[in-house]
Amino acid sequence: MRHENATRTVILGVAASDAHVVANQLIAHSLRAQGFTVVNVGACTSVAEFADAYSWHPEAEAVIIGSLNGHAYEDLQDLPAARAQGLLDCPVILGGNLSVGSHKDASDAERFRALGVDAVLSDPELLPATLDQLRTRAPQPLAAS
């Protein structure tokens, strides 16, 4: 089982239409500083490219997707298909600024879970703890604010 590997690997990237990388790069640095191996596929990464990266790194314990430009929902339209085809067989974590506009809807997270996202986060500091929890395969998908 990959959980017993000495080093833990994650795939990190930004959604397909989104070029915001500052948080992405800081998160990568920070996870590395905490001992993770980070495969950072960076900005403008489609679901297909995430699946690709996963095929090269099946040891990854999660795919972590950032989205800031408000287009997360459209950018993840292919996620259900990819997951159904088993192309992304690990937890998917999503974080950032997930919809357009300044007034966010609390039900937003639901939409993403319906697409096959396992956890919606806003604070990257919660990533390690979330990764730990997902490892224990809690039966309920986890939501943090």
């Binding site: 239409s17 500052v22 920070s30 403008c44 430009n69 408000g70 287009h71 300044s102 007034h103 966010k104």
Partner: protein
């Protein structure tokens, strides 16, 4: 009118001659004319950002902004699918729910609707986007009678895409610039704003300005006649004022005569404070930077910046930014000595970065090579085609310096000065420490206002 639906068929673009005639008949000044007048009268022209997916709502938004905020120039901000030529996605979201687009998909709506927008308001329009290859968007803009277009082969590539080679984007933007040259020949001067803002966060002034100098030289060679050099407010007053004041000096050094160059300030583009009153303090601060730096134009922010695309009310509420033109603030004096020393520093660094590149014969090739080798570089590049080995940090006084200049061809003197100014910031003793420090610098204004960095929403 079904406002969301794109026109049934994509229709032929009009000829350039037809578009030039259209602009003439429109009966409003071009952006270049507005900028010229602003500078001549000592005003800072004001421009809010705005763009929504629906055509009808875009009309309303522009009209509301014009009526209530009386901006000098209005914006069409383009959605990020269109920016990346994901036109199918833009169309899909437009049909599904236009509110989910983060900008106006002009190519999808088409130039006739662009003209409708243009005719709806008295201020000239600028298209702001972030497209490595903006040719179709530019042609649609020109056909819409839009007289200002943002971007450049470096500045609209590296921050905005991952895998577009610089040779491609530079070539695409050469076409845009050449078309501007042709339009100028036909009597229509299109203002070309260069996106010196780059990745917006902790951008050292000399990197922003160096990239703009290179893009400006490239644009001028294609016949562009009006260039706006945009500089992103970094957060340190004297440094930002000096950067704005550097722009006319750089133009005099590196650009041919006959090109009109304007300094433009982009109000702080990094992590914005969340509390309204803090955001407003920062907006006013930006307005004062623009005023004292002698900017021709100020691109404003709203108090909702930290949250997402602002609603119309927030965007109308340009109260703080418009203070840039208050006749009552002439009493403000500056630490001119400090501004002067920042200015010297900036001019020196820019010279060290651009002069080797400008000395070569094939500018585009050299730009590409220099980025590949790190002799040109930007921090936080979204693109693979810059190395991002430059590491910026804030000095204790908030000024942005080079913790590491990466492979930039800096002189020893320049390196030493940067090192000295960061002496107490402490070389990183480990990756964790460095990331912490960098994050804290990114969150500079949260620290100033005592806000916690937890994400807004």
């Amino acid at each position: 009118m079904n406002d969301a639906a794109p026109p049934p068929e994509t229709s032929e673009l009009p000829t350039l001659a037809e578009s030039v005639a259209y602009v003439r008949e429109l009966g409003k000044p071009t952006a270049a004319e507005v900028l010229h007048t602003a500078r001549a009268t000592g005003r800072v022209a004001l421009q809010p950002r705005c763009g929504v997916g629906s055509h009808a709502q875009m009309m309303t938004l522009l009209r509301d902004l014009e009526q209530h905020a009386r901006p000098d120039i209005l914006t069409l901000t383009i959605d990020s699918h269109t920016r990346l030529k994901r036109f199918d996605n833009a169309r899909a979201v437009l049909l599904r729910n236009s509110a989910e687009l983060n900008g106006y998909p002009l190519v999808t709506h088409g130039w006739q609707r662009g003209r409708e927008l243009n005719e709806a308001v008295a201020a000239p329009l600028e298209v702001r986007h972030g497209s490595p290859d903006a040719r179709l968007l530019f042609e649609t803009s020109v056909a819409s009678g839009i007289t200002s277009f943002e971007g450049g082969g470096i500045s609209y590539n590296l921050p905005y895409s991952k895998a577009v080679p610089l040779s491609e984007s530079l070539a695409a933007w050469r076409d845009v610039d050449a078309l501007c040259g042709e339009l100028a020949g036909r009597g229509l001067v299109v203002d070309r704003e260069l996106f010196g803002t780059l990745t917006a966060v902790l951008v050292p002034p000399s990197i922003s300005l160096a990239v703009s100098v290179l893009e400006a030289v490239a644009a001028a060679r294609e016949g562009v006649r009006c260039i706006s050099v945009a500089y992103p407010q970094g957060g340190h007053f004297e440094q930002d004022v000096a950067a704005l004041r550097a722009i006319p000096l750089l133009a005099a050094s590196y650009l041919p005569e006959g090109v009109e160059v304007h300094a433009v300030l982009h109000e702080f583009m990094g992590v914005f404070p969340k509390e309204r009153s803090h955001a407003e303090d920062l907006i006013l601060y930006g307005a004062l930077v623009a005023r004292l730096g002698g900017a021709t134009k100020l691109i404003t922010k709203t108090y909702l910046e930290a949250y997402g695309i602002p609603d119309t009310r927030a965007n109308i509420d340009g109260l703080l930014a418009s203070r840039a033109n208050s006749p009552l603030l002439d009493f403000i004096a500056l630490d001119e000595e400090r501004v002067g020393s920042e200015l010297d520093w900036i001019l020196q660094e820019v010279a060290e970065i651009v002069e080797p590149v400008l000395a070569t014969t094939d500018l585009h090739k050299e730009i590409e090579a220099a980025f590949a080798e790190g002799r040109l570089d930007i921090p936080f590049s979204a693109s693979r085609y810059a190395r991002s080995e430059v590491i910026p940090r804030r000095a204790p006084d908030g000024a942005i310096r080079y913790l590491s200049p990466g492979l930039l061809p800096f002189s020893d003197r320049t390196r030493r000065r940067n090192e000295e100014s960061l002496a107490t910031t402490g070389r990183s003793t480990g990756l964790g420490e460095m990331v912490k420090g960098l994050t804290s610098d990114v969150n500079h204004f949260l620290n100033v206002f005592g806000e916690s960095p937890a994400a807004a929403s």
